[in-house]
């Protein structure tokens, strides 16, 4: 019997809507209306910001939240497009890779708020007198906080595509374009989504920080939760700040439930493993859409377009490594390429020196490095303190599966919450009790990032094999011996992952955390973050550049000399299983 009925679930009874269709339709239409409404607001002339300034009326908060969320969404889309292009270029072209990857490495360690200084001026000039310029500057700031680690993850996935699948695509005559969408992107998907979620927390932090910004004599206050908080600080209104925190909590929960959980649950099929995992992630939102009938039918044309798009027969200009006979790459082109890189690097160095030396002397450089060391000391002390507190707590929680299941999402949620919204509360306390700013402003740097340590340690302790625990207790290992010989080595790789993220985040946060104000009271802690923040406010570009460069150098050195060796050690010696 050759004939068969071919069943396509989505086409069956496609035209008879069910109850889930109605719910889903309302959600979709609502989202579209909100996007259009938010979009209209951005094309208003700049002067409208003065006519309808940010007000502390809580009834405005939903609109502000919408504006903030839209910026976030736009930045994520930009980041994804950038990631696809940049990572594909770096992974497919050896020559591009030589420049692009080190560049990415440096960009990762540049303090994002430093970027804002230049981009605000640039984008404002691009759309003179229009809110769009300021909006774009803000979106760009968020983009810079998200794109790099996403790109890295994509690039690494593309370099590690399994050889047999690569051969299968070649053997079945897939074009370069088809291969990209059928193999490279799906294979990179889980890592990319995880990194996008990580980027989100950074993104919230910077969207809030970059809505109300002063560069020299340009002050922009974009309607949003960040500027609401800025106004609350100016007016010394603690209740308003409470409202803002509450709104942000709701926004993050909505984002997580409506966007990320469905994506994670959907993307579970891209995980590259040959056996089914125990507990696949679930999402009520995704289930809802999967239960709809008419709406799924509506998505069919999109799926068809997507299929046609990814099936285009475009081949990359670079030939596949097939040509073994001419496998030695052209030396001449290499030499030209190297010369080109050297010349442009030299030119850039010359311009930078020329620009900076006009207003800066060696003493400025020493000063900046001095401040840098102060901030470095803060980061080290804070990471150490957070480790002392959260490692035992995390282990305690992680070894109790029931508890870990409940605490883990909370810790991840706290990591995603933009801690700078809570800064005013702490600043209020410092001002109120007259505490030393140099010491008490410091904890703000790690307020948002300490949770990375906690949830990674919980994950490590949860994954700790129970046979090793049983062996330890049957050998009567107790007390410090149990910690040193059993648990700490077991969770070490996880802890390092968390600590690296926490330390990177703390550096970034220093620009916001070392300078704080409450009404007319201004607090400053001596450090590189405050140095950059002050230079930004004064519009002193040479010092901003110097500060950023110094921070870049310190962060890169710190990563290379401390974190990477520790990470490599953990992966080599202490990875279980």
């Amino acid at each position: 019997m050759y004939f068969r009925v071919i069943r396509v679930p989505a086409l069956e009874q496609a035209l008879r809507p069910n109850i889930w269709d109605i719910v889903a339709l309302i959600l979709v239409v609502g989202a579209m209306v909100l996007i259009v409404y938010g979009g209209e607001q951005t094309t208003l002339p700049l002067s409208s910001l003065d006519v309808a300034p940010v007000s502390l009326d809580p009834s405005n908060l939903p609109l502000y939240a919408l504006r903030t969320t839209m910026r976030m969404l736009l930045a994520i889309i930009c980041s994804i497009i950038f990631t696809f292009i940049y990572a594909a270029l770096a992974a497919k072209s050896r020559r591009a890779e030589m420049v692009l990857i080190p560049l990415l490495d440096i960009l990762q360690s540049v303090p994002i708020l430093g970027f804002l200084t230049f981009t605000v001026v640039f984008f404002m000039n691009l759309f003179p007198g229009n809110v769009l310029g300021a909006e774009l500057a803000c979106v760009f700031a968020i983009f810079t906080s998200q794109a790099w680690n996403m790109t890295f993850s994509m690039y690494q996935s593309m370099r590690n595509v399994p050889k047999d699948l690569e051969e299968a695509t070649q053997s079945f005559h897939l074009s370069g374009w088809q291969r990209f969408w059928r193999l490279d992107v799906p294979f990179a998907m889980p890592g990319l989504i995880w990194n996008t979620m990580m980027s989100m927390s950074g993104g919230w932090f910077f969207v809030v920080a970059s809505e109300a910004i002063t560069v020299g004599n340009t002050t922009v206050t974009l309607p949003g939760i960040g500027s609401y908080v800025a106004l609350g600080i100016e007016k010394q209104d603690l209740t308003a700040i409470g409202y803002a925190i509450l709104t942000m909590l709701l926004v993050i929960i909505a984002y997580d439930q409506l966007l990320f959980r469905p994506i994670v649950a959907w993307a579970d099929k891209f995980r590259f493993e040959q056996t089914a995992s125990g507990n696949p992630p679930t999402s009520w939102m995704l289930d809802l859409f999967r239960r709809t009938r008419a709406l799924r039918a509506l998505t069919l044309p999109f799926a068809a377009v997507n299929r046609a798009f990814s099936n285009l027969r475009i081949n990359w200009p670079v030939s596949l490594p097939h040509a073994a006979k001419s496998s030695s790459p052209s030396r001449v082109v290499d030499v030209i390429w190297f010369v080109l890189i050297a010349v442009s690097t030299g030119y850039a160095a010359y311009r930078a020196y020329d620009y900076l030396s006009a207003s800066l002397g060696p003493s400025d450089i020493f000063a900046a490095f001095g401040y840098g060391l102060l901030t470095l000391a803060r980061v080290i002390v804070l990471i150490a303190l957070a480790t002392l507190i959260w490692v035992p707590v995390g282990v305690w929680i992680g070894l109790r599966p029931k508890l870990a299941e409940r605490v883990q999402p909370l810790a991840q949620f706290l990591a995603a919450f933009p801690a700078n919204l809570a800064f005013p509360v702490f600043v209020y306390l410092i001002v109120h009790y007259g505490l030393n700013a140099n010491i008490w402003l410091s904890p703000l740097m790690i307020l948002g990032t300490q949770w990375y340590i906690l949830f990674n340690v919980i994950a490590g302790a949860s994954a700790f094999p129970s046979d090793l625990r049983e062996a330890a207790s049957s050998l009567h290992l107790k007390g410090w011996r149990w910690w040193i010989k059993v648990v700490l080595p077991g969770i070490f790789p996880y802890y390092i992952t968390g600590a690296i993220t926490a330390s990177g985040g703390s550096w970034n946060a220093s620009i916001v955390a070392e300078v704080a104000s409450w009404g007319t009271t201004h607090l400053t802690a001596a450090g590189l973050g405050a140095y950059i923040a002050k230079a930004t406010e004064a519009g002193d570009f040479p010092r901003v550049v110097l500060g950023i460069a110094v921070m870049c150098i310190l962060v890169t050195l710190f990563n290379r000399l401390l974190w990477r060796p520790l990470y490599a050690f953990g992966e080599r010696r202490l990875r279980l299983g």
Binding site: Y2, F172, N311
Partner: protein, 439 residues
Amino acid sequence: MLDQPNKATLIDIKSVCRSFPKGSGEALQVLEKVDLTIHAGEIVGLLGRSGSGKSTLLRIIAGLIAPSSGDAMCRGETILGPPNGVAMVFQSFALFPWLTVLQNVELGLEALGIDAAERRKRAIAAIDLIGLDGFESAYPKELSGGMRQRVGFARALVVHPDLLLMDEPFSALDVLTAETLRTDLVDLWIEGRLPIKSVLMVTHNIEEAVLMCDRVLVFSSNPGRVAAEFKIDLPHPRNRLDPTFRQLVDTLYARMTQRPGPKTQPAGGAGNIPGTGVGMVLDHVSSNVLSGLIETLAAEPYNGHADLPVLAGQLQLEADEIFHLGESLQLLRFAQLSEGDLVLSDAGMRFAHLETDARKKMFAQHLVEYVPVMGLIKRVLDERPSHTAPAARFRNELEDYMSEDYADETLKTIVSWGRYGELFAYDEQSETFSLENPN
């Protein structure tokens, strides 16, 4: 167009060589002057040890790598990239985990730009043929290994290739599953229901080759060459217990353990182990396995003399693995490989009856005496006042003779054997050899 190839000739390989760059810059010859012709209507097997270049040859025919010299033609045209009408089945299945069974099967048709209705029809037909009905919407991770490889077959068959290439397609499956799949495939082939003209399969399983192929080419290693060709005229379905079948298996075993000609015979009698002197490539075999094998050989029923197919059957080892073990024993002078037999030497017999410490001493003594690189390391450590030496010193020397991967493998073997024989200590952190023993 004087020598227009015969229409029934699918693949024509003429004196193909292939080399890969080696650590020291020289090229490592993997294939040397290989000739092969594949006609329509036959199943051809490439049989050989790992590292004999048979997979490389398969990939040259698949258009995945290019030969360094020589001609590779498919239907009279030089192979530049994957030729049309050739499909491949992979050892690791190479299924896309994010595509369902149906989507995986359709992939090759999609790339050919075949329209959706036709695609679906052909995919369903291929799925039916290979016995996967009902699994269309399953994801590969939900399937067992055997079912996954069936998807691999369906995906290759659906494009109706003239030639089906199979790269050790059953070696990742358990014994029972592999056997079912083999017989299913042979049945379909005999009944003429497979939409293909010929099959070329790579294998290191001797019985599999005899069971399925019409023609078997035995490859010798280092560099890979066609050492012998056997025609197998047994009618299908073939019976493994048939005396003629057994005879063929024994012949192939003997052919594969035969030493290369006296010209390339290394001076120490190391048999098939590639390289000579310090440059000998040592595959990692645990000293526990070696001791275990010596004990098995010394005991009943072998009493020091075993037929390789029988031994492989009892120990559930692939031919390739048993060769490996046999060669390591031969290198250390504990046994001799000859004509498909493994014979324990006097030293091997003595070893089998010693206590642990005495065994270690004897093992160490044989290492220093018969494995040149071991002797070198021992000498260097003895001579240096600090009695330590970095592993890099020996790795560099190894890389003069072999690729980086082989050098790593050899070094791993050196460390593991040296530790067992208590010849030296090795610190993994600092990668140094030393004479001191931790107390």
